[in-house]
């Protein structure tokens, strides 16, 4: 199989003498760093930690659902397990996954800046994240939360005696961590671009993160105030969300989903941003319809704020309002489809090679398309009544978030691993992992569409025996998926020591980040670059490489 990977001669190659990794040593040089690249690494380690915890909880859920009765754990334990799985995976893994790690690492490199605009705030955001993580973990250790990740009132405020306030506090802190990340990105993209880096020369990765940051900035504070109200309602029994006191539980739903639906786009837009880079690099073509893809990111961010009520269609909202929201929900499909079509057109007549990031990207496109299209089912008012709160919806959002975002995250981690560490990951085993992940994912979640359509409700530990065959499939798939995720966790650390030296630009990619040494210097650029070409200009790269050869030879 052909490849575009070009590594330096391994016999003579060595890592650069100075880089952000060896600029300073010691634990404190990491914990007090202002360097966006180091903070990205801190984030990567911490979200991996929470991913493992969330993954183990997911394993427990699938194990419980292997058999129809609730025999592995008590039903209330099951409730706590799936609640913690949701809370950890959504707020502590998916929301920060690509933006806070890969985005944090790359945005200054891509816009040609020495750092993000506010390095200290960037560090603060990591500490807030860790603080939030500690609160969530302590809620789990103290006895758990069983509200589900949505904290539905009045269940969360009146009927449950678990650690809702502790968990809400954790999410509040994690929320501010993501606000600060978004703030930093927006200011950096606006104010820190290098000379010549116009908006339409920015890589689509930056556009995707810009759109994500808009949502983080405008949506997250509403979640914060909502959780404050829930906490006050629990501790002081106020009644804003309590119908017996004149409050309205639906108000909670409105405020919660005003953030949490756009948050779904926080969890997918950065993934799309990664895919644009990967698809272009491994098909050696400029992304087809650059402008359309760039604006579709912003359109998703804006439309994302107009659709939240589709989470509430069966909760007694006004039918007329539901009509409007149903229509607007379908509108979001348009920019998402624009992206899918443009990526397909980028592949068309490109010189495609199948490195690991590309395999994950293909996985993303397939799974995200299925996830997105089933979203249309759920946007349809009549269909939604049948499908909502069943496994259909569980499958739908896992296709988008796990099949979409997690695939994109892994694509991004593999794609930029050489840049972050200076070393290549082992290619053969990582390709295997990508294929295993894809197969495992389909086997796990596709049966859940059928289960949901047949009427199996979500969030129950027990189910009728009729559903067992499909559930066994799903649990078996989860085991395969588990192996698929475990492999990178083993071979990526391995590659830190034994991986091949990557050199500046192993993929022959065009981005600014690939034109500097890997791993980069603490200040990123020896001299602030001047951008004189479009993004994804492979001719420019060919010329530049040629020029370099001539100078040397």
């Amino acid at each position: 199989m052909s490849t575009i990977v070009s590594l330096p001669d391994q016999a003579t190659a060595k890592l650069p003498a100075k880089s952000y990794l060896n600029q300073e040593y010691g634990l404190m040089s990491w914990l007090l760093t202002g360097d966006h690249k180091r903070i990205a690494i801190l984030y990567m380690i911490s979200i991996s930690f929470f991913f493992v915890i969330g993954g183990v909880l997911a394993g427990l859920i699938r194990l419980e659902l292997l058999t129809p009765p609730s025999d592995l754990m008590a039903t209330d334990t099951y409730n706590k397990v799936f609640s913690m799985h949701g809370i950890i995976m959504v707020f502590l893994f998916l929301v920060p996954s690509v933006p806070a790690t890969i985005g944090n690492f790359l945005i200054p490199l891509m816009v040609g800046a020495r750092d993000l605009a506010f390095p200290k705030i960037n560090l603060l955001s990591w500490y807030l994240y860790v603080g939030g993580g500690i609160f969530v973990l302590s809620a789990m250790v103290l006895g758990g939360v069983d509200t589900g990740w949505t904290f539905t009132t009045p269940l969360s405020t009146h009927y449950l005696n678990t650690h809702v306030v502790t968990a809400a506090m954790g999410i509040f802190l994690a929320g501010f961590s993501s606000i600060f990340t978004g703030l930093n990105f927006i200011v950096t993209v606006h104010r820190m671009r290098c000379p010549g880096m116009t908006w339409f020369r920015l890589p689509l990765f930056v556009w995707g993160h810009y759109a994500t940051s808009i949502i983080m900035i405008l949506g997250t504070p509403v979640l914060a105030i909502t959780l404050v109200l829930v906490a006050l309602e629990r501790t002081m029994s106020i009644g804003v969300f309590d119908p017996t006191k004149g409050g309205d539980p639906l108000l909670f739903q409105h405020l919660f989903w005003f953030y949490s639906h756009p948050a779904v786009y926080i969890m997918i837009l950065p993934g799309m941003a990664v895919i644009s880079e990967v698809i272009s690099t491994f098909s050696r073509k400029r992304v087809f319809g650059y402008t359309a893809v760039a604006f579709s990111s912003v359109a998703i961010a804006v439309f994302g704020f107009l659709v939240w009520e589709h989470h509430m269609f069966i909760m007694g909202v006004s039918q007329y309002s539901a009509l409007v929201f149903s229509l607007m929900t379908m509108l979001v499909a348009v920019p998402s489809a624009i992206k899918i079509f443009n990526w397909s057109m980028t592949l068309y007549k490109g010189s495609i090679t199948f490195e690991t990031p590309m395999l994950y990207a293909f996985g993303f496109i397939g799974l995200f398309t299925i996830g997105g299209l089933t979203g249309i089912f759920l946007a349809t008012l009549g269909m939604d009544i049948h499908l909502t709160e069943t496994y259909f919806i569980v499958a739908h959002f896992h296709f988008v978030m796990v099949g979409g975002m997690l695939m994109a995250y892994l694509a991004g981690v593999h794609f930029w691993w050489p840049k972050m560490t200076g070393r290549m990951y082992p290619e053969a085993i990582s390709k295997t992992a990508a294929v295993i992940t894809f197969i495992g994912f389909i086997v796990t979640f596709f049966p859940q569409f059928l289960l949901g359509y047949l009427g199996m409700p979500r969030r129950y530990a027990a189910y009728p025996a009729d559903f067992q065959v499909l559930n066994v499939f799903s649990t078996a798939g989860a085991s395969i998926l588990g192996i698929g995720y475990m492999l990178p966790m083993l071979y990526l650390p391995w590659s830190l020591i034994y991986g091949q030296i990557a050199g500046n630009n192993p993929w022959q990619a065009t981005g600014l980040e690939w034109q500097i040494q890997s791993p980069p210097l603490t200040e990123n650029f020896v001299e602030i670059p001047i951008m004189d070409h479009e993004a994804y200009d492979y001719e420019w790269l060919a010329n530049k490489t040629q020029h370099e050869v001539q100078t040397v030879g």
């Binding site: 820190m192 900035i217 309205d248 200040e523």
Partner: protein, 249 residues
Amino acid sequence: MDSQSIATTPEELDRSVLPHAHEHPAFLRHHFEDVGQQREAASFGMWVFLLTEVMFFGGLFCAYLIFRNWYHPAFVAGSNTLDIALGTTNTAVLICSSFTMAMAVYSAEIRRRGQLILFLVLTILLGSVFLGIKAVEYHQKYVEHHIPGPSFSIQDFVHPTNPKAIPLAPDMAEKTQLYFFLYFAMTGMHALHMIIGIALLFIMVARASKGAYTEGHVIPVENFGLYWHFVDIVWIFLFPLLYLISRYR
């Protein structure tokens, strides 16, 4: 095709390690190109932060709007128990503090240290007066059993002592608790912002007395000014919404 524009060679490394800011002022952070860029980034960052604050209060305003429409009589009755003299005074005090803050920014810009400290101290004083009056009002509510929670009493609304007030049916009178909760949540959140602001002001006075902001580095004062004025704006909306519902009764 300027392919040399992106320096890739590590030989040039030593130059980057050297302070590249030899002709730049000391307050310029290393990752900014010049003072103008730093100033714009900082001020834009502050505005974006205020954007999140707008949405943070937005949730409360949304709740207020819904319940005010649902339980208008209860909101009128609740609003009319607030002390309008204290409320109006407080609004004026806060506007004065905004004015002194604006003047502090001006003093920093024209580099007058003494004047800057004077206006910052005045802002602290006015902010504290505001919080003091707020405390008096909260205490009144406590005495009247109008603080939502177990001690809340609807007596004043079912059997008003004021002959002009319209008595409420008990179920509507219960809803005044929602009004008072929103009152405490909104003014409390606002007061919390004031307390944070005053704490920051103390730090700024200490630094200003060492001449930190009068050598051209006005960004912190300016950004704090933005924050302080934003807190003022929140109050500008809270005052009519909470104090001025159908006062003519």
